[in-house]
């Protein structure tokens, strides 16, 4: 019974932290879907959004505003920052690089990462800034059934709820709104979309903006978890296997990929780790991604890659 309780606890904990990776992976998917850019800068965007949010929040609270007003204003401020970033990236990097191959675009986003990291730290500071938007303590479920109960972190539950709402919102946005349809058209074939009168650069701006807002949402959760600080940029590397497993172009895939990675790596770490030296979650997700790719080269939910000569 204890063993079962512990297993469930690790499984649930893993699934939940997987959803938190998905929050970061979603931003990748959005941009890849619409512009074919593999955006390495997503982690840096989470850092930028988080710093803008927490610095504005601290300033507003220090000036005596009630907390909820300050939160709303700070989120607004961070959204404006993300919009400006999206515009700058579209205008100066992605726009001029249209029609280049994927590798060049990928490398250019690493360049963007350097710029964002430097600028964000220069403007907002390189300290650690605590953010407390969600509760971080834990529930202990089924204490009658298992000794000690099953631990579930409240922050993880919030993260899962937010991710659910976010995916639903994005689905509606893509399927039901005019801009969403235009986005899908551009994703399919940007030349054809251009010729029927869809403004490409506007659409790309929108995509980067939405990815920026997703980064902002991720920043609220991860900032509460870690405190807003430079290390948040490392999340990008945690999100990569998630999106490879799910498929680079699928929004539900990002969530499912997150669940698989989270549960897989936590179970592997707790049950396999001690016998081979520990720390295996560092590579486990990547090896899992490699295995999935060998079976399905486009990921679990990705669009089939069709090659023509």
């Amino acid at each position: 019974m204890i063993a079962l309780g512990q297993f469930l606890e690790v499984l649930i904990g893993g699934l939940m932290s997987g959803v938190l990776y998905s929050l970061v992976a979603l931003g990748f998917v959005l941009i890849f879907k619409a512009s074919g850019v593999f955006n390495y800068a997503q982690g840096a965007m989470v850092l930028l959004a988080g710093l803008a949010l927490v610095r504005a929040l601290d300033l507003l609270v220090a000036n005596g505003l009630p907390l909820w007003v300050a939160v709303v204003l700070a989120i607004g401020f961070a959204a404006v920052i993300m919009a400006a970033t999206a515009w700058l990236i579209e205008r100066f990097v992605i726009g001029p690089l249209v029609n280049q191959d994927g590798l060049t675009l990928f490398m250019s986003t690493i360049g963007v990462t350097f710029v964002i990291e430097g600028a964000a730290e220069m403007i907002f500071g390189s300290d650690v800034y605590p953010l407390r938007l969600f509760p971080t303590d834990a529930w202990f479920l089924f204490e009658g059934l298992f000794p000690g109960g099953i631990l579930v972190n409240k922050l993880d539950v919030w993260g899962a709820l937010i991710a659910g709402v976010l995916v639903a919102g994005l689905a509606v946005f893509f399927q039901r709104t005019k801009t969403g349809r235009a986005l899908r058209a551009v994703a399919d074939d940007h030349l054809a979309a251009h010729s029927v009168g869809i403004p490409i650069s506007w659409i790309w701006f929108v995509v980067w903006l939405v990815a920026g807002l997703v980064a902002l949402v991720a920043a609220t959760v991860w900032g509460t978890k870690l405190g807003v600080q430079f290390s948040i940029t490392f999340l990008a590397l945690k999100a990569l296997p998630v999106l490879i497993i799910g498929g680079l172009t699928s929004i539900p895939g990002a969530i499912v990929g997150g669940l698989i990675v989270g549960a897989g790596e936590k179970l592997a770490e707790v049950y396999l780790g001690p016998s081979i030296g520990g720390g295996i979650e560092y590579w486990f997700a990547y090896v899992l991604a490699l295995a999935v790719l060998m079976l399905r080269p486009q990921g679990l939910f990705g669009e089939r890659i069709i090659e023509r000569v």
Binding site: G13, S17, V128, P130, N153, K225, S231, E269, V270, G278
Partner: protein, 441 residues
Amino acid sequence: MASIARNVLMLAAALAAAALSAPAAAQNEQFIPILSYRTGPYAVNGAPYANGVVDYYNLINERDGGINGVKILTEECETGYATDKGVECYERLKSKGPTGAAFINPLSTGITFALTEKTATDKIPIITMGYGRADSKNGAVFAYNFPLLGTYWSAADLAIQQIAKELGGFDKLKGRKISLLYHDSPYGKEPIPMLQVLAQKYGFEFTPIPVTHPGVEQKSQWLAIRQNRPDYVLVWGWGVMNSTAIKEAAAVAYPRDKMIGVWWSGAEPDVTPAGDQATGYKALMLQHGAGKFPVHADIEKYIYAKGKGSTEPGKIDEVLYNRGMVNAMLGVEAIRKAQEKFGKKPLTGEQVRWGLENLILTDARIKELGFEGMLKPVSISCSDHEGARYGRVQQWNGKAWKVISDWSTADESLIEPLVADVSAKYAAEKKIKPRDCAKET
């Protein structure tokens, strides 16, 4: 195309101008390089330390006009806690100033490992106060390494002593479970051999648990701790890893007062992000803690009142700021000691090494320097490059660090054999002939 060529040309011209106009160094200056990290994942802890170092050197220049009239010249180089950048910084700065670098202080165990051989060749002492290689305490083999005030092996012993005290005696350690949550790098691995020795001696069960750099993801480690229920968890973290460990501990309801951090896991940036959850968390002290001491009055008067401070005036009593000052002070005193023998002029690294090796700070001298209450007497010699092995324990009460223990001393009878063993291996590997410390003056 043409614009690129023009830009490249302009850049080259700017570089040539910079190379030619290298400022002529004044002759009566002692150059001290500062390797720091104010950006990147470890900036949170690196910046306050660097501020303490910089402010203390400035204080010596502003208040005393230098060390016996020899002004201190510094240059900072950003390492980002990366070993390769640290090596580049060292190479860049080692021969600046009239006599080259007096000593180097990389604030990274990884960089220390990479520089140990180079500094011995270049004859520049490497001061690693409270970090670095534990075996380099043996000055006979490591002539240029100075792990002052405490190595990680001393720290491991001090931590176990504290646990024994809390449990009510060393005999109570038998059968207990103690885990080490460590940063998976040379820094975090350094205490493991000592803890294994201690586990064998006292009969407790020791489990090392690695956390991968930078330490943002520790959920599985803490779930394992929740299942294994160790009596104590030692935390050997740096940067974001510390605060994340405290938060995850709170999330799995592991009591914070059963966690003991090393002295690099016991500063303000490690606990404040965790908020109330950090209350009760304990950490070793590298002798000193937070708070203001007589020397801070001078810092305020000569540096901050003139607007020359490197941080906000409210932050000059933090743990890491104080540690930076203590570190700078020991370096300055070593130079002062060396000046007694070699004259009041800029000294070479080799001469400063003599000063370090013969440095003795008595209580009276420490009081004179304004560090009373921060330090116990220090006495460095050829065979003992550590100089002191004292420690205390502090606890975070939600607002400030409070000292909760008396001074204790690491047990040399346990550490010394390990030091002798490991340093002898290093000497054999590197074909170093250990000096005879009895003949050193």
